[in-house]
Structure formats: structure tokens, C-alpha cells
Amino acid sequence: MIDSPMLVVVNDEEQYSVWWSDREPPAGWRATGFAGTRQECLDHIETVWTDMRPLSARDPETLSVRDPATLSARDR
């Protein structure tokens, strides 16, 4: 593995990962502002990603409106 500088990134489901600092994060991902070596980024994620459920799955009573499949399953 090549140890280039990395960023901590997060998607709309509040799932965390790492991305190269010299590349634009892919669509649906944004940088959180934390940067460092890959290991530093992972160590940071270990402390900040406290609820690992995707945002849409956090409240069992609330259906995700972003997920059309959920709606169609319910409509039948």
C-alpha cells in the first residue's frame, strides 16, 4: 500500500471512510476536515464514528424517504 496523505470522508448515510487528499471525493462524499496519514485518519474515525448504523436505519420507526424500494415494498 502506498502511504499518500489521506482525508476522512463521510457520505449522506454518515458512513465514514478515507480518500486521497489530492483527489476530489466521489459524488455523495464530502471531506470532514480531518487529514493525515492513512492510519491517523483511521484512528480518528475510530473515535468519531460512534453510531455505525446508516442514517436511514437509525430510527426503526422512521422509513427512509430516500429509498424508493422501501416505499414500493410497503405499498404492495
Binding site: 500500500m1 502506498i2 502511504d3 499518500s4 470522508v9 457520505n11 449522506d12 448515510e13 458512513q15 465514514y16 471512510s17 478515507v18 480518500w19 486521497w20 471525493p25 466521489p26 459524488a27 455523495g28 462524499w29 492513512r38 485518519c41 483511521l42 484512528d43 474515525i45 475510530e46 468519531v48 464514528w49 460512534t50 455505525m52 448504523r53 446508516p54 436511514s56 436505519a57 426503526p60 422509513l63 427512509s64 429509498d67 424500494a69 422501501t70 414500493s72 415494498a73 410497503r74
Partner: protein, 1046 residues
């Protein structure tokens, strides 16, 4: 005069003896001579040259297996090579004559290996073709021979003495000198080439040619030639001078980068040839002086091209000045030390001396001999650099030439990129062509999750509910004598779901399932879903500590089990109890949300603790839909449930079957009793098997002893590299009659990610296929960029099947589940840590791990987890865990014995993670780089138990003989235990098959487990024989007895 051979000559002599028809060591020079050729003078000139050079008068005699070089004195009768004079009808004919000669081998026992042919095309147009075995001359020697010949010819024409440099040294002097030098160089090479990296080559070269599955198609061998224009050639030369090095070093650096970009290796071995004429007195000599030297490139840390150039320059300066030594002296096979070569020819610049009145030109040689799996040679022609990539047909692919052609084009692109931007990191240099980029896009898979355009379809519980509605009376599960209908399965699940709710289980919870193979276990899985929860399955005998750890890790408090549980955990009876059958629970299951977790699988964790992989409903639903469709499952199918529920393969068996309304057949006696099930009444109706590849390999070994069901139509395998030999054997028996599907996939991507039918194509390495529905696969290099066909990268899986992550492991999850720039916005893909490549046919080939993860008999094992547990023990100093002959082996230092440690591990690890072979060492052997030196680890040795009692009865002798062969243990005693000797369930199958072959009696696999010593099994065998005899006519009995005695 008799002289010893140089080390290089000895090696060539041996190679020619091993393969007398190999013409790849035939050296040649072919020149077109236009003008008035005086053939008489030419022959006299040739005699002058032969008289001058001892090597051209040397033959090779053998005495007691030792070769000696024997030179005739100058001018001796018979020392002159025969000169063939041939009239060619036309130029085309001349070409054929030349090609025949340069592609002909030499028999070293037949005399001086030198031949000369003068081919006349016309009166003033001749072709001179000189061939010799490499043992008497190298490429440089050919230039000398032609120059000396030109001078002698010209001198004779003009009636003067030839003007030639003094020749103080002859090959026999050189050979003695070189033998001493090479001996002194042995320690340097042993140290420098210790612990060689795996010999991966681009384009799958060599992969079809390894071991017994090798396919080397010489018809597919050839050369792919590309040209580098004057401008780039000039730039390369300038780059070399700027960095005070040579063009060779620049090209060698680029070649190593090419290999790195194709294999991912940063430790790269490339051979090259050096002239070996660094002393002035060696310059005018004809002989085999060139040396094959291996350069070891360190490409670690993604250096810039110029930085790497500095490293290679240093390596070349150090290595090229040393005499090479035969690979045999270094202690590793030649393929490992020198998988490939790069050679820059600088000596072949054409004639420099006048050849009488003749004008000398080149003539096509038609050379076809490929010396190595893959190698590149470069030379100058008219200011351009010509690069020729030789390939030997060993990829096993009919598209090999095209693949190597592309490799050659990539090399040009890489060189252009390196001269344009030499300060770029090697991972950033351009190497993929436009065609490559197009392939990358085309091969990745679609990743779409849409069998129908407007709906993603139902989740798995709804698929099964649909079956229950449609065919409530059909048989869903068979377990021994018990048959459960879909209606009954549904009622049981409803009742248990109500019990779970009553015990406090809420939607979104995780519920443990720890049950033996039974209908209750199947209904338990459905019940957990019906309660809106996710299931976490365990082995029925899961060690309590690990069970508790995994449950706590998943935040689970409830377990469906009949076991007693540690305090704080709630056991729920699998039958649920009558009182929970409330009417509202009999109805439709609550709508399952696609984003809910469906199951959690506990997998081996490298840090010493298992990790729970959480997979959502939408992921497994997409897989089950694909499997049901692709495997063609329908009512009437009978599918064996082979996998343990603690592994995710069970999902591939259970749910497509139930979704299709087919019947699931359980193995209550354990997976290893599959052959018993197939041989029992009802076994003949089985239509589909899903087996670990390692287990399938063992069944194929005993293919004629297995009662394959006549109804069998599909076998799915997966989990390890399938053997080409086993596929061939399978197809020899079944042809197209039983479909064989190879699958690949990690738990983190919902059971499987790729699949392919293993059909009639002969395979060196059976592929793992293409992405299944709703899945993408990209192969990424170390910089995260996708790679094209033929290139090894990390296999990365995208699409709907990607798991949610590892429960309560944020950093691990973030590292393995990464943004997918090619998927839908915000989506993630899973980095498997598996190495793979797209073969030329567009299918994936699996090539092992990037890290140390092991597969033992299909079980995925992080050796780090086992090592961490071992180091917990006070009697262990160091620990190293690896695999040897399908067994998990632990190497430990310290005071503890293997037996103690096995007991220690069994308290915390599931059985497949407990090593079955133990080696106690004083210290772990280390390489100079500080890693465990695997090559220096002793193979585990099995010792039969103390108090050895040799087998005596016929049955004992037969059992002991079969054990000895399959377990690889000598002198087995009657009280030795099958499992203590390293036996395992896969081997039990084969023991049963062998006993059947030896006696004609059906021996259930179960018996091998129950009767664990030779004596016990022998008694069981005798009982079975007696029972068989009682059911037979006298004639049949006679036949059986006589066959058993043979």
C-alpha cells in the same frame, strides 16, 4: 587436451542433456553477401578462423557423468566444420533454408557444435548462415567470428597475412579461472537472492505452465516487436546521461516498473545478460563468456522514476561486476530467481570490416525459439530502438500473442511517459493504452440492482412467504426421517417469532442462533427475520467464551438454543412454546426494510478477536434472486444443506431453495456424512450440491466411489482455487450432464460476487468468472486505479451486495469499505485483500492474498487471531501459524506442548481455528529482512502413539495401509486415533471411499468418525462385511470375499 567447463557451460550442457530437442541455445549469424563470392577462399578463411579460436575446435565428452571440453589442435584433420553449399531457387526458398538451420538443435555428443551454410540465391547473391551452440560462443562471439572471417577472406584475396589482435587467452583458460571466481561469488548471490518473491508474470505467462496442471502451447509462442522512434530513443539516452548512467539502466528501470504495474510486486527480480568481457584480453575471444545476472529491484514506497533509476543504477553496478553462479547453488528454482529477463544488445552493430569486394547486409533469420516464459530484448536499428517481447505459450490462453502485443505497447507508453515526466512517481506514469481503458470499463460488471426496471423486488422473507402461500403442502425441509412442509415451517417460524417478541426482542436487534443441523434451525432463521431482527449463527459447539464475546460485540442478548448460556444471556427454545401462537403472529410477516440488517457472520479477525460482518436485507435479496434464477431452482429440486450455519454459504443453499419452493435436505450427522446421504434411499433424488472447493476436490479424487445421484444436475463450488486437474476429471465423468459452477465471494459482499460455469475449456487455472447480478468488480493497483486485462490488482467489489460493515469496528470498516467513485453517489465498495486478474477471455482469475489470511479446507483464517490467542498462554514465547498440506500448523517457542496449547485454544476458538499440527522450536527462523523465513520452517512430523501395536488382521492391515497413505504417516499402530494423526472430515470421506474400493462394502463416512482407531474401524469393517455376506447369495459372497482378499 581436456579441460573442465565453466559453470555457465556446465549448466548449458545439462540443459541440453535434459531436453536434446531444445533449439533455444542455438546461436546464429546470418548475412547476405552481394557481389562475386569466392567460395574456395571463404572456406580457407573459415579454416584460418577455426585454427585461431580454440572454441571452434572444441567438442564435449562425458566421463562418468562429468562433461569435459576437448579441443583438437589447430589445423588437425576433422577440426573443420562441414560447409554446406546450397542452391536456393529464390529468396523465399533461402529464407526457409535459413530458418530451418537457426531453429535446429545441436547434439553435444556429436562433435564440435558449429555449422556453416552458404546459400546461393544467384551468382552474385549469397547468404552466409553460421550456427553454433551457445556453449562455445555467445552473441559477442558471433560478431568476432564474422569480423575475423571478413578479415581472413580479404587478406587471402589480397595475398597478405590477416591483421588480427593477439589472442592470449583461450576458452579452457577462461573456464578454469571462471570456476574459481564463481565459487567465491556464491555467498553474495545466496544472500542477495534469499527469499525470492512469488514469480508472477504479466498476461498470466507461466500460469498455465506450473505444476501438473501445466499447459504450454508452443504453437502460441512467439515474439511481439515494437519500435521506439528516434526522438524517444534520443530522449532516453539524454535521461541516462543526465543521471550518469546508461541506456540499459533506464530501460531496465522501465521494465521493472512495467512488471510492478502488472503484478503489484515491489520486490522484482529480472535477469539480464552481460558480455563478461571486462578484461581487454577477453575481448577478441570466441567463447561463452556472457553471464546471466539477476537484478533485484526495490520498488517500495512508490518512488519517482528518477529515484528508482538511482536505485537500479546502484544495483546494476554492484551485481553486474560479479560472476554469476548456477541457480542450483543459490537454493531456489530458476523460475523463482529469474522469472523474466531484459537484455539490451549493443554488440550486434553489423560488420565493421570490409569483406573482400562484397557488400554485406542483413537477411531475415526466421528465429522462433523462446528461451523463457516472458522476456524482452532490445537493440538499435537505424537510430530506433527495437524491443522484442518473447513469450513461450505458457499462459494457456489462445489470446497470448495479443496480450503480449499489448504489453509491448504499454512498455512504449511507459517509456514515453517516463522521459516526459521522469519526476513522477512510478504509480503515476502512463501505462494503459486506449484499448486498455475501454476494457476496464467493459469488464467491471453493471452494478445495477434491477431485474425489472421499476422495482427492486421483494426481500427474502417475502419471497418465502410467497412460496408458503402458493404451496403450503409442499415439503420444505427434510431432516433424516422428518419432513416439514412449507405451511408447517411457517407456523413454527411464527410461533418462535412470537416467543422472541415476548422475550423482549425488538426490530433491529441481533439474535444468536446456536442449534444443531435440524428443521428447528431453519425455522429459527425465519423466525428471527419475522421478529424484525437479524440473526447471528454459531456452531452448535461454539466455545462459550467466543459465543459470549461475539454476542456482546453484536449487542445481542437473546440466543435461540437448547444450550445453557452464561449469565446475562437469554436462551429461547427453538420450538417457541405453544402459548406464543397469538393469532396476529400467524399472518403476513411485517414488511422487511431493505436497509435492515439480515444477518451477522462472525469471521476471523487479524487482531486476535473475531469481527461480525453485518449484511443488509437488500444485499442478500439481490443475491438470492440471482442464485434462484441462475441455478434454475424450481419446485422438485432437492438441495443439500451442506454448509455450517455459522458460515454464510448456508444462505446460498437455504434461501434460493425456499424461495423457489424446492426442498432443502439436511445432513443431521454433519457435513462429512454427505456421501452416506447420497448412498441412502432418497439420495438419488438430490439435484443440487453446493460444496467447498477443497471438499469437492476430495470427492473427485474418489469419483468412482461416490454414489452420485442420477438426478444431480448442478454442483456449485467455491471458497478456494479450483484445480484444473479436478475439473478435467469431473468432466471426464459427467461431461455436460452435470453443470459445474465456480463461485467466489467474501462474506463482506453477501456470499458470492463472481461466478462462472466450468465448461469444456481446458484450464491451467480455472477462473472465478464475472460479476454476478447487481455487482461490480474492479481490480485496483496500489494507487487505487483500475487495471486492465492481464494485470494483477486487488479485487474490489461494488454494488448492492456490499455489507454494512464490521459491527463496532469503525476503523476496520472505514479501511475496508471505501468510497466507490464508479457506483451511485455515496456508495461504497469492499476491498477484499484478494489478488486477481482478468484473463484474456474476460474472466477473473484468483491469485491469492495480499496479506497473510489463510484458507484451510475452505475455512477463512486470520493467522494473527490464532497467534494472538497462543501468545496469551504463559508457556509461549513466539508463535507463527500457517498452512501445510490442508492442515493448520502452529510453530511456537517456549515451554508449552502442542497438546496443552490445543486445549487452551479450544476454549476460545472454533474448531477450524485450532491448529492440528504443532512444531515446538527453539526460535523462529528469520530472514535477513526480519520476516519469518517460511522456507526454513520444518514440515510437521506426525508420530504415531507410544505403545505401538502393529496391525495384524486383514481388516487392520487394510485400514492401516489406507490411513498411512492418506495421512502421510508411516507405521501406524492399531491404537492410533484418526484425528490425532491429523485426520479431518475431508479425509474421512476418502477413507470411506478407499475402504469401499478395497472391500466392495459400503462404509458410511459416519463410521470413520465414530470408530476412531485402526482397531475399532477394522472391527466395524468386519461387521459390515458379515452383514453384507448374510444378505447375499453364495456366489456373490465368494466373489466379494475373493476381491476383499486381493
Amino acid at each position: 587436451m581436456r579441460a573442465p567447463l565453466s559453470p555457465g557451460q556446465e549448466r548449458l550442457w545439462l540443459l541440453q542433456r535434459l531436453n536434446p530437442r531444445d533449439a533455444s541455445y542455438t546461436m546464429y549469424t546470418v548475412r547476405r553477401l552481394r557481389g562475386p563470392l569466392d567460395t574456395g577462399t571463404l572456406e580457407q578463411a573459415l579454416a584460418d578462423v577455426v585454427a585461431r579460436h580454440e572454441g571452434l575446435r572444441t567438442r564435449f565428452d562425458e566421463e562418468d557423468g562429468v562433461p569435459w571440453a576437448v579441443a583438437e589442435p589447430p589445423g588437425a584433420a576433422g577440426s573443420l566444420p562441414p560447409v554446406e553449399r546450397i542452391e536456393a531457387g529464390d529468396e523465399e526458398h533461402a529464407r526457409r533454408l535459413v530458418a530451418e538451420r537457426v531453429n535446429a538443435p545441436f547434439d553435444l555428443a556429436e562433435g564440435v557444435p558449429l555449422r556453416v551454410a552458404v546459400i546461393a540465391i544467384g551468382a552474385l547473391d549469397h547468404v552466409l548462415c553460421v550456427t553454433m551452440h551457445h556453449i562455445i560462443g555467445d552473441g559477442w562471439s558471433l560478431g568476432i567470428l564474422f569480423d575475423d572471417l571478413a578479415e581472413c577472406y580479404t587478406a587471402r584475396l589480397h595475398g597478405r597475412a590477416p591483421s588480427l589482435a593477439p589472442l592470449p587467452v583461450q576458452p579452457s583458460d577462461y573456464a578454469r579461472w571462471q570456476r574459481r571466481r564463481a565459487e567465491r561469488a556464491v555467498p553474495y548471490w545466496q544472500e542477495r537472492l534469499a527469499d525470492p518473491p512469488p514469480p508472477d508474470l504479466p498476461c498470466g505467462m507461466g500460469s498455465g505452465g506450473s505444476g501438473d496442471e501445466g499447459i504450454r502451447d508452443e504453437g502460441r509462442a512467439g515474439f511481439q516487436i515494437v519500435r521506439m522512434g528516434r526522438e524517444v530513443a534520443g530522449e532516453l539516452d539524454r535521461l541516462a546521461r543526465e543521471h550518469r548512467t546508461t541506456l540499459f539502466t533506464v530501460l531496465m528501470t522501465a521494465y521493472q516498473v512495467l512488471l510492478n504495474r502488472h503484478t503489484g510486486h515491489t520486490d522484482v527480480l529480472v535477469g539480464t545478460a552481460v558480455a563478461g568481457r571486462d578484461r581487454v584480453e577477453l575481448e577478441p575471444m570466441i567463447g561463452y563468456l556472457s553471464q546471466t545476472v539477476v537484478l533485484r529491484g526495490d520498488l517500495d514506497g512508490d518512488p519517482s522514476f528518477t529515484e528508482l533509476l538511482g536505485r537500479i543504477r546502484h544495483e546494476a553496478l554492484t551485481a553486474l561486476s560479479r560472476p554469476s553462479v548456477p541457480f542450483e547453488r543459490i537454493g531456489h528454482p530458476a523460475e523463482a530467481l529469474m522469472p523474466t529477463m531484459f537484455i539490451l544488445h549493443t554488440q550486434d552493430l553489423g560488420p565493421t570490416r570490409p569483406f573482400g569486394d562484397l557488400s554485406v547486409g542483413f537477411f531475415p533469420d526466421g528465429y522462433r525459439q523462446v528461451k523463457l516464459g516472458l522476456y524482452a530484448e532490445a537493440w538499435f536499428e537505424d537510430g530506433e530502438i527495437v524491443v522484442s517481447f518473447g513469450h513461450d505459450g505458457s499462459s494457456g490462453s489462445p489470446h497470448e500473442a495479443e496480450a503480449v502485443r499489448r504489453l509491448a505497447e504499454r512498455f512504449l507508453l511507459l517509456l514515453e511517459s517516463a522521459v516526459a515526466e521522469p519526476h513522477r512517481r512510478i504509480s503515476e506514469l502512463r501505462v494503459w493504452t486506449g484499448d486498455d481503458e475501454a476494457d476496464i470499463r467493459a469488464m467491471a460488471g453493471d452494478g445495477a440492482d434491477a431485474p425489472e426496471p421499476d422495482s427492486r423486488g421483494p426481500m427474502v422473507p417475502e419471497m418465502i412467504a410467497e412460496t408458503v402461500r402458493r404451496t403450503p403442502g409442499a415439503v420444505a425441509v427434510v431432516c433424516g426421517e422428518t419432513e416439514i412442509t412449507y405451511g408447517e415451517l411457517d407456523r413454527r417460524a411464527a410461533r418462535l417469532a412470537a416467543a422472541l417478541r415476548a422475550e423482549g426482542v425488538r426490530p433491529g436487534d441481533v439474535v444468536g442462533v446456536c442449534l444443531p443441523r435440524s428443521a428447528e434451525a431453519i425455522s429459527a432463521l425465519l423466525a428471527v427475520w419475522r421478529a424484525g431482527a437479524a440473526y447471528l449463527p454459531f456452531e452448535p459447539d461454539e466455545p462459550e467464551e467466543r459465543l459470549a464475546f461475539s454476542l456482546a460485540d453484536a449487542g445481542a442478548t437473546h440466543v435461540i438454543t437448547t444450550r445453557a448460556l452464561p449469565a446475562g444471556l437469554t436462551a429461547v427454545d427453538p420450538l417457541g412454546g405453544e402459548d406464543h401462537a397469538a393469532p396476529d403472529d400467524q399472518g403476513e410477516p411485517a414488511g422487511t426494510r431493505p436497509g435492515d440488517v439480515a444477518y451477522v457472520i462472525s469471521t476471523s479477525g487479524s487482531t486476535g478477536r473475531p469481527k461480525g460482518v453485518a449484511v443488509e436485507h437488500r444485499a442478500i435479496a439481490a443475491r438470492i434472486r440471482w442464485m434462484r434464477e441462475e441455478y434454475g431452482l424450481a419446485p422438485g429440486d432437492r438441495v443439500v444443506q451442506f454448509a455450517s450455519l455459522s458460515f454464510d454459504t448456508h444462505l446460498e443453499e437455504v434461501f434460493p431453495t425456499l424461495a423457489a419452493g424446492a426442498t432443502l435436505v439436511l445432513l443431521p450427522g454433519g457435513a462429512a456424512t454427505l456421501p452416506d446421504l447420497l448412498a441412502a434411499p432418497g439420495g438419488e433424488r438430490i439435484t443440487m450440491l453446493d460444496l467447498p472447493t477443497a471438499y469437492w476436490h476430495h470427492l473427485v479424487e474418489e469419483i468412482d466411489q461416490i454414489a452420485w445421484p442420477p438426478a444431480l444436475r448442478l454442483v456449485v463450488i467455491g471458497g478456494e482455487q479450483a484445480s484444473g486437474g479436478a475439473v478435467t476429471r469431473w468432466r471426464g465423468r459427467f461431461g455436460d450432464g452435470v453443470r459445474l459452477v465456480n463461485t467466489y465471494g467474501p462474506t463482506e459482499a453477501a456470499v458470492i460476487a463472481t461466478a462462472t460455469d466450468l465448461g469444456a475449456t481446458p484450464y491451467g487455472r480455472p477462473p472465478i468468472g464475472r460479476p454476478v447480478g447487481a455487482t461490480t468488480v474492479h481490480l485496483l493497483d496500489a494507487a487505487g486505479a483500475p487495471v486492465p486485462k492481464g494485470v494483477i490488482g486487488e479485487l474490489v467489489i461494488g454494488g448492492v451486495g456490499v455489507a454494512r460493515g464490521y459491527l463496532r469496528r469503525p476503523a476496520l470498516t472505514a479501511a475496508a469499505f471505501v468510497p466507490d467513485p464508479l457506483g451511485s453517489p455515496g456508495s461504497r465498495r469492499y476491498r477484499t485483500g484478494d489478488r486477481a486478474r482478468w484473463n484474456q477471455e474476460g474472466a477473473l482469475e484468483f491469485l491469492g492474498r495480499l496479506d497473510g489470511q489463510l484458507k484451510v479446507r475452505g475455512f477463512r483464517i486470520e493467522p494473527g487471531e490464532v497467534e494472538a490467542r497462543l501468545l496469551d498462554h504463559p508457556g509461549v514465547g513466539q508463535a507463527f501459524v500457517t498452512v501445510h498440506a490442508e492442515e493448520l500448523v502452529a510453530y511456537v517457542t517456549g515451554t508449552a506442548t502442542g497438546e496443552e496449547l490445543a486445549g487452551h485454544l479450544a476454549r476460545t476458538l472454533p474448531r477450524h481455528l485450532v491448529p492440528t499440527a504443532w512444531v515446538v522450536l527453539d526460535a523462529l527462523p528469520l530472514t535477513s529482512r526480519g520476516k519469518v523465513d517460511r522456507a526454513a520452517l520444518p514440515a510437521p512430523v506426525r508420530t504415531p502413539s507410544a505403545g505401538h501395536v502393529p496391525p495384524s488382521t486383514d481388516a487392520e492391515l487394510l485400514v492401516a495401509e489406507i490411513w498411512a497413505e492418506l495421512l502421510g504417516v508411516g507405521s501406524i499402530g492399531v491404537n492410533d486415533d484418526f484425528f490425532t494423526l491429523g485426520g479431518h472430515s475431508l479425509l474421512a470421506t476418502r477413507i470411506a471411499a478407499r475402504l469401499r474400493r478395497g472391500t466392495g462394502v459400503e462404509v458410511p463416512v459416519r463410521t470413520i468418525f465414530e470408530r476412531r482407531t485402526v482397531a475399532e474401524l477394522a472391527v466395524a469393517l468386519e461387521d459390515l462385511l458379515v452383514a453384507e455376506l448374510e444378505n447375499m447369495s453364495e456366489e456373490e459372497a465368494e466373489r466379494l470375499l475373493s476381491s476383499a482378499g486381493s
